[in-house]
Every structure is written in C-alpha cells, then in structure tokens.
C-alpha cells in the first residue's frame, strides 16, 4: 500500500501526523564512523508541545543526533520517528512537518530577506495565493519588514538568526529544531529569540534545541538531556536535575593554594573537590554539615578570603556529569 503523501504546509493534526504519538521518538540510535561511535544506543522521547534541550560538550554527538533526526544523516542502527513518521522511510513527509534553524543559518546572503523566504516557500510547496501574505506575516513576526529588500549579507548576527527562525516557521511546521539558536547574538536579540521560542510552545509546537548556554536551557526547556561520548548521561527537568545531582556548592577563596585536597575529599558529605589556583569548588550533599569541617581543614593552612554557599546551577550539574565545562 502506498504511503499517504504529505506535502509542505501540512496543518497541525493532519492524518499523517498522529498527535497521540510522541513528537520525537528515538530508539537505540547509533551512528558509527569507522571505528568511532559518535552516537551510542541513544533512546529518548520528546512529548508533543514540549521544549526539549539537548546538551553536551563539543564532540558529544549532539549534531550527529540532530542530523539523524532531520534525516540529513542515516543512522547505523536504530530508528527515529517524528509524530509517528519514520525519518528514514518517510523522509519527505517528515521534512514537511519539520522546521529547522541550523547553527550556520543557511541563508542565501546574496539575496534579500524576501527572496530567501520566497525560495523557501516554493521549496516547501506553500500555495502561491498564500505565499505573499505568509512571507509578510513572517517578516513582521521577526521584525524585519523594513529590511525585507535588503541583502542578508548586510544583516547583523541577530537579524540573521531572526530571519532564519522566521524562515523555519514559514511552512508552519509542527516540530522545530534549533541548533544553537542564540549563538553569537547580542543580549537584545537573544531575548527576542527566546520570546519567539516560548510563543511556539504556546502554539502547541514541539521545539528541540541544542545550546551551549545553560542559562538559556534553564529559561526555556521543559526537559533536558545531557549526552556525552554519544551516550545519554541524564534526562530530566532542569529543576530535578539540579536537585538530583547538584547538592550544595561551596566556593572558597584562600590566600595560598591548599595542599589538603585528599583530606577535603575524605570529609563526610563532600562529593567533589576542584581546585583552580587559590579557588576551591566543592560540591556537598546539600545538608550543609560538611561546611564547618571544610573551613576547619583550610584554616590550618592560612586565611580564607571568601566563602560562598549557593544552590547548584546547571553548570555544576553538567560539570559533575561530564567532567567538562559546556563551552570547553
């Protein structure tokens, strides 16, 4: 039996896209490049209407995963379905319901903003009678109407990101993936892009984003997955990740670098100790009982110039789980 044809501009809830399905379902996804396994048996589900963040240090397999989700790369094994459609075998249908904002924006810089959207509309089969109105509406949404005839090469980084986001929304996709959507943009544009992303959620669309900004992940994402070496390390809400892995963070500045690292690590309630010059970063179980003992050990070596006890943030969780800073 032939597969139902889904052309571009498919409205949400069309028969081809089953709303009861998870928006994205990844099952035992593996990608092997020779002897190197970039993605290793990854399994996760993203619910419809969710903003889901994919975090991982450089080379962790994020982009490879994203490429397999969008059909740009074929998995070595495993499956990806989007709203019930198999990415490998129903790739055209999947591409019609997927909106993509690539990290490099993939805009034709020699052309105007309007021409970029016009070409996208034709590629995605937006009916000619709707095309002009949709392009105008999109330019209005991303606040680029007054620059519609300007060449994209003259745009700032933030304007390009906004245009790329608008273009991804032009064909009204149900699932949108954003690869580093605010990389290299100014604070004002970042805030505007965050607002667009939150609007998408309000419209019931599913958003998958990768980011190197944990603040962004915390602000936008309903759930996060942390991957490293192609494997899923953790998956949860930002708040639950912090409470599960975070404990308490004690940051202490000393006058001389401490020699008592082994003694500190052996203290009850101390999970990890990291030393950077005269600055100590200690993660405790969270009860706070370890702090007096820590201070006691360090006071024997010299004065303490600063003590800070705080709630953990996602950076701490990420560091704890991967052993790396996200922007390494």
């Amino acid at each position: 039996m032939s597969q139902p044809t889904v052309r571009a501009g498919i409205p949400a809830g069309s028969p081809a896209a089953d709303a009861a399905q998870p928006a994205i379902a990844i099952q035992h996804l593996t990608k092997q490049f020779g002897a190197y396994r970039a993605v290793d048996d990854l399994t996760l589900e993203i619910a419809a209407g969710e903003i889901f963040g994919l975090l991982g240090p450089n080379g962790s397999g994020k982009t490879t995963t994203i490429n397999m989700i969008s059909g740009l790369s074929s998995p070595t094994s495993g499956t990806v379905t989007i709203l019930g459609l198999d990415v490998r075998h129903q790739s055209r249908q999947v591409r019609a319901i997927l909106g993509a904002v690539a990290q490099e924006t993939a805009l034709y810089e020699e052309l105007s903003a309007w021409d970029n959207l016009d070409f996208h509309a034709d590629l995605y089969g937006i009916p000619p009678r709707e095309k002009r109105a949709r392009i105008a509406r999109t330019l209005d949404l991303v606040q680029l109407t007054d620059r519609k005839d300007s060449r994209v090469s003259a745009f700032s980084g933030g304007m390009k990101r906004r245009l790329a986001l608008g273009r991804a929304l032009l064909h009204e996709p149900q699932v949108i993936y954003l690869d580093e959507p605010t990389l290299g943009v100014d604070v004002q544009s970042r805030r505007a892009i965050w607002d667009y992303i939150l609007t998408l959620k309000a419209q019931g669309r599913t958003v998958l984003l990768t980011t190197n900004y944990l603040e962004e992940a915390q602000e936008l994402c309903d759930r996060l997955a942390i991957i490293d070496h192609g494997k899923l390390i953790a998956i949860d809400t930002p708040a639950h990740l912090k409470s599960t892995y975070g404990g308490n963070v004690v940051e202490i500045e000393t006058t001389v670098p401490t020699q008592a690292l082994a003694e500190l690590r052996a203290l009850p309630g101390v999970r990890t100790v990291a030393l950077d010059g005269t600055r100590l970063h200690i993660v405790t179980d969270g009860c706070g009982n370890a702090v007096p003992a820590i201070v006691n050990v360090l006071s024997r070596e010299g004065d303490l110039t600063q003590i800070l006890i705080r709630e953990p943030n996602l950076d701490d969780v990420f560091l704890l789980l991967t052993g790396k800073d996200l922007r390494d």
């Binding site: 055209r92 019609a96 993939a106 034709y108 052309l111 996208h120 995605y124 089969g125």
Partner: protein
Amino acid sequence: MTNLQADLRVIWACVRHDIKIALTDRIFTIVGVFVPLNFLILLSLFVLAGSKAPTAVVMADKGPLAQDLYTAMSHAHSFSLRHATASQATDLLNSGAIVAIVTIPADFDQRVAAQQPVQIEVRINNLNQDFTNDIRRAVPLSITLFYAQAYPDVVTIVPSEHDLYRFDTDYIPYLAVSILVVGVLIGGLLQSGTGMAREWERETVKELLLAPASRWAILVGKMLAAASVSLAGVVLVLAVLIGIIGVHPVYWGEVVGFTLLFLIISVASGTLLGALIKQRMAVVALSMGIAIPLFFLSGPFGPISFQTPAIQLLAQVFPVYYAIVLQQHAFHGFTLNTLGLGGNVLVLVIYAIGLLTLATFVLRRTTAAH
C-alpha cells in the same frame, strides 16, 4: 497540487533562484561565460602563430625564373614571405623577426637557363625546431614546384589529386568547431560545478536537503539555471566563430541540437563534480584540468582516426570525441567516424542519462557536511 505540479514548481523556483544568485555572484559568472571565449582566442592565436614561418627573400636576380621560384615558394603553404635587401634581411634575422633568409643569387636565371647547378643560400634561425623543419621541408618543395612549372616536359611525375570532399576545410575552421565543443564543456562544468559547490561553501545546502522537495527536481532546477547561464558563453563563442572567424554551419538545426545535448552532459558532469568536491575554487581548477586534456585527446586538430590506435581507443571513452564528430558534421558536413550521426547521438544520450542518474544519486546520498 499533484506531485508533478509540485516538482515543476520546485524546478522553476530553483532556476529563478540560481540565476538570481549567478547575477549577484559576478566573478564566477564572468569566469564561466568568458573562459570559453578566452579559450577560442588563445587557440586561434596559437594556430595563427604556428601556421607559417616568416621568411625574407633576398632577390639578387629579378629575372623571370627568379620570380617563378618566388611564386613557387609562396605556394608551398609554409612561408610567410617578404622581400628584403641583404642587410635588411640580416637585421630581421638577428632581431628574431624572421625564421629564415632565402637568397636567390644574381646569376640565377642565367645558370638555370644554361642548366648549370645553382646554390640557393638559406640562413635559418634554428631556435625553434618546428619552424626550422618547416623551412628544411619547404625549400626543396618550392624548388620541385618551380621545376614542374618551368619545365613541365622535363618533370614528368606529377600528382593527380582526387579529393574525398568537395572543398578543403582550413585549419582554423576545423579547430574552431572543436573549440566550440570545449567551450560548451568548460562553461557547463564551471557554471553547474560552482553553483553546486557554492551550496556547501556558503552552508546553504541544508536549506535544500531539508526541504520536502524531491532531490531530482532540485537538481534539474539547478542544472537548468547553470545551462541557461552557460548558454550565454556558448552564444558568445558562436558569434565570434561566425562573425569574426567566418565559420558558417552547414546544418543550423544540428548545431543547436548537438550543443544542447552536449550542454546537458557538461552541466550534469559539473553538478556531479560540485556535489563531490564542495569547493568552488577546486571545481574551477578541476574543470580546466579535465576539459583541456580531453580537448587535446579528442581530435581537435584533425580526425582522431589519424592518431595511434591507443589514442583512438582512449578518445572514444570520453563524450568530447563524439561531440566533436557531431559538430564537425553540423558545421562542415563530414562525418569523422563510422558510427553515423545516430550512433554518435546515441552515445551522447547514454552519457547524459548516466551522468544525470549519477548526479541524482550523489545528491540523494550527500550530507550537509562540508
């Protein structure tokens, strides 16, 4: 909207889009359009420079027999003759302006009439062996021609020539047709190759690969755009061929048909190259690196059947050879191989289908990775 309508719309969108980009990306477009013309000018100059050896004739005797020898030399198809005095000729030879000085001695008529030996002094600037050998061959040939005309009853061995064709085809008109073929090849390779590679270089390929349009529709659209821009270069070469060099086609319909057929092959090859290499400068370098050897291999200066069997076999592997055979028929009316027009066209059609299929396959398999 049916699938076919949607695909046609994508094709049209890609054509408009790529032509628009080609018009903004002027450097590569100018390269694509003018390189074939440049090639025509270059090879024409090469042929003109290498065709006849500039030679000064010092006529110490101005008698009728000496004049006949001069006429015989001018009919030898090897000299570009000029009269000079002995001192003028020496200056010209020393300055490198001429290849040789032929001196007809003062007693030439008298000695020939008396059937006494005559020595014709020939001084050669033997810097270039090609020209030197031309002189070495042409001087004895001129003397033989002179004898045949001056003493027809003495020289009894004369050639009786029977031509295969009604008219001779000069070197430049023959070569010019081959240059048109290589112009189509270079233009098509450059336009489509750089157009395709640009998508990776500028990282816009994701926009194409993520679209729900069929890959073949995108490919056809991009190829049609490249072919349209390449045609500008081909028209330019044709205009120079007809308007300036004076080569007039015998069959205009064939010129158009064979040009379009070979343009499809060139554009498909370029598209394949661009999708595989993904870098415009590399595509430009490789296009020239492919086109020029193929041009020289495929019989641009004369029928490939005059070459060694190994060269003939190698030439027949590539479509340029068949395209030259077809265009020579379109321009001059002769067929250079035994396949006939239909056979040569069939070979090119097979090449076109094969390359289009391969290009589509590569684009289907390709990723956005640069």
